[in-house]
Subunit: 495 residues, 2 copies
């Protein structure tokens, strides 16, 4: 007889296969599709997501979940069952009408934003955003009542299970105490250390070859993935076939190069998720923050270290040609430059958390009903002044209109960027303890021990453990922001 | 109240959306996917085809089809209803388990073939092919019993509604009477007309640019399609986003160029199917042979004519560089060279039918159970000797392993190539009658009247009429192979 767990397992495998098609068609839409295919593709993907929702919320799934609790399951199966329940609850809670209304309002807001942002049109944008916020509050209210938590915490939990605003307030509150001063000291120190920009143009094909050669060095499996180009870099596809993208500029190659390294971190996590459980929820990456911890481990902890930069410099010179700015000292300074600015996605790792905390505080208040959409610009200005000393008055386009996240109601996502940065620092410190020769290994290109450690401690576990268990198991303690502070001080003040 | 026809219409629109995802994921598999993604992709596509099968064969569909017959429908709706019934009958016959097994076996066989063909590994390939043949025979048997016809005719009907092996035997039997002698006479004539091969290497990027510029001239809509590279050239995607492919060799550019023109013929048909009915079966291309008639109209009738070759020669020289072999007379001789050879896809239009008849006779016997997979190499050798005087012993790679079609069980497809060639000749003759200045229009690049004629007579009708009605409406008579013979004699003997 087929057990309830087996029924569930089959259902989720089916969902995973449809997810595969959605991932590839989504990747294609960003990388390959001509503009004329847009409407038909949107309709095809929407049809598929309706189907996925129907399969996940079918009546039997709820009963199978209850029955499976009584069945004899091993540890992995139990963890898988928890993840199944979590996915089911998140989907089943929301009335179809709300899902559809939110999807339509989000589409409209995002679509208009593409014109409104360059036009600095806050009035037009805020009208659409109000509808998105209204529906996101409804969603949050339903989730909050089911979870017995605050509205914002309920949204946070979608991206980062187990995380709460109480924990975030503590962690981010600590950061706010020391970050602004640290930033000032670093900026002052670097003002004494001139840096020379490399002179382009840099051929796109050479940049692509450089990216591919570094991906190779970082262990990307080209038998199970590709590198392509899209307007907004991302890591997509499926674990068996991971699609990462970057974008190239002719006059500057470092941001594309670091972008490739960042996405390679995401990709290696995906490529090394537990093969034997693929297709089941327990094989998924643990959370958004843990995913980001892998990309930031690769980009910030590993690739922007002086040791790694020394390792890859010959490849860089081979592809880009020798020039004075590509001397070893300047190459490190180029990749460790700290410069507070308006734009989050261009920010260095020291000012980045300020961008995130600001957004976190605003979106929490917004979802909680403590502020309204009309209040955002003033709060944005006040906090940008306080955290980064930057005046954004009247400049909505480079201020509160710069990100895509709020346009389609992804409230609760922003904090995971900085959680990821803190996990990355904590993990790198643990790798250092495990590998006493780490720095010379990096300089000589012997990176396999690092990857083995990540495979052993993070990648192979998928969602088998909670984030807290995973990180405690890997590093000996729960999230501890002290490592992030230590990392920033070591790299930017004590070098 | 929703009518049965409206229910059906909604159901088929949904199927069309899933078909969109299948087409794009299938295109990706041939053009972009790394080898490691193969198994997961095969499973995902198989899952989708099971779903499509379930939707199409759901109980209500049968009753809606019956009810809709009683509803008041206009001509297009009636034609749509017929196509719906045809699709439903074809699908409802097959058990879901057979559909899934065939899809998985086909994926596996095709994927392994990509390595096995270059390795000349008949043993490895035949093991996979046996499974595909076994499942195709099961399919054929089920269809044959339902249609009251032979196994092979039942498969033929899937690609070419209305066609039977009795009709094919007659048409191909006629061809076999005059083709070998005509071929000999042409080869003897051309032996007196020396031709000079262009000297490479020819940069891939220049070949690609040449292809794009000819696609532009042929009216390909780049806002609704792309050109890429695959091992076996094809036209895929969806009418809103048509994906054609070719393959390049460094030492020879004409086959890639003509390949692009061929697929552009397919693409223009797809891009110009009736927009107002897209998503419904009546908007589909009429049949495989009519589809092939469009690609062969573009490649054989139009592009290999002396007039068109004169038109594009300056573009060819601009991309490939001037050289003696690219003088006007030699350029025509190059593109009208007849040389019996091993490879069907490289064959000239005179020897091509021999390749098709050979495959038709083998697959008909294979599906009928008169021969087995292990017999294929010997039968192949015997017929290649008889029809083309070519020895293929031991050379599986350029013999019975050269084509992709049998790998995923597309038995019944090959005959449509030669039917397409015959329809193309008949259509071109009709265009000539309609456009008395055709030759000078082609030489001057005024191709729009030709496209308008095809749009008017073929493309815009989708599947509104039967093949016989369509061709009779367009040319004044049903399929008449005399035009094909006349075309070959005019081009190759009387020039």
């Amino acid at each position: 007889m087929t057990s309830a767990y087996q029924h569930l397992s089959k259902t989720f495998q089916r969902l995973s296969r449809f997810g595969h098609l959605s991932a590839i068609a989504g990747w294609d839409m960003q990388t390959m599709m001509p503009a004329g295919g847009s409407q038909a593709r949107g309709e095809a993907l929407a049809e598929l997501s309706v189907l996925q929702h129907e399969i996940l919320t079918a009546k039997q799934v709820g009963s199978w979940l209850d029955q499976a609790e009584q069945e004899s399951l091993n540890d992995v199966e139990s963890a898988n069952l928890s993840e199944m329940r979590r996915a089911w609850q998140q989907a089943a809670l929301l009335p179809a009408a709300l899902v559809e209304a939110k999807s339509i309002a989000g589409s409209r807001c995002e679509h208009a934003w593409r014109q409104q942002r360059p036009a600095n049109d806050w009035q037009g944008f805020s009208a659409n955003l109000k509808e998105v916020v209204k529906l996101s509050r409804e969603e949050a209210e339903i989730r909050a009542q089911a979870n017995g938590c605050s509205r914002y915490d309920a949204l946070l939990d979608v991206f980062e299970p187990g995380m709460t605003s109480a924990k975030l307030d503590k962690t981010f509150g600590d950061l706010k105490l020391w970050l602004p001063e640290l930033l000032q000291r670093i900026v002052a120190k670097q003002a004494q250390e001139p840096v020379e920009r490399p002179t382009g143009p840099f051929a796109i094909e050479a940049q692509r070859q450089l990216g591919l050669s570094i991906m190779q060095q970082l262990g990307f499996d080209f038998n199970a993935g590709r590198l392509d180009v899209s307007a907004h870099p991302f890591c997509g596809g499926v674990p068996e076939d991971v699609r990462i993208t970057t974008r190239y500029k002719q006059d500057e190659f470092l941001s594309a190069m670091m972008g490739v390294i960042h996405e390679t971190g995401h990709a290696r996590y995906e490529q090394n998720l537990p093969k034997q459980w693929l297709g089941q929820p327990v094989a998924h990456a643990r959370s958004t923050a843990i995913h980001e911890s892998q990309s930031l481990f690769f980009e910030m902890q590993l690739a922007r270290s002086a040791d790694f930069l020394q390792l890859i410099l010959p490849q860089v010179v081979a592809q880009m040609g020798a020039q004075p700015a590509l001397n070893p000292g300047n190459f490190v300074r180029l990749n460790q430059r700290v410069k507070p600015g308006f734009i989050r996605v261009d920010a260095d790792e020291v000012s980045y958390p300020a961008h995130v905390i600001l957004r976190y505080e605003i979106e929490r208040a917004l979802i909680g009903g403590e502020i309204e959409v009309d209040d955002i610009p003033a709060v944005w200005q006040e906090k940008m002044q306080a955290y980064l000393g930057i005046d954004t008055r009247g400049n909505y386009r480079d201020g509160c209109m710069q990100d895509i996240h709020w346009t389609d109601g992804a409230f609760g996502y922003f904090p995971t960027y900085t959680l990821g940065a803190m996990y990355a620092a904590q993990l790198f410190q643990a790798v250092k303890r495990a590998l006493p020769q780490l720095e010379s290994q990096i300089r000589s290109g012997d990176l396999q021990p690092i990857f083995d450690w990540l495979q052993q401690n993070i990648w192979q576990h998928g969602s088998r453990f909670s984030t807290q268990q995973l990180i405690t198991h890997a590093t000996g303690e729960d999230l501890n922001p002290a490592y992030f502070r230590q990392h920033l001080e070591n790299r930017y003040l004590h070098n």
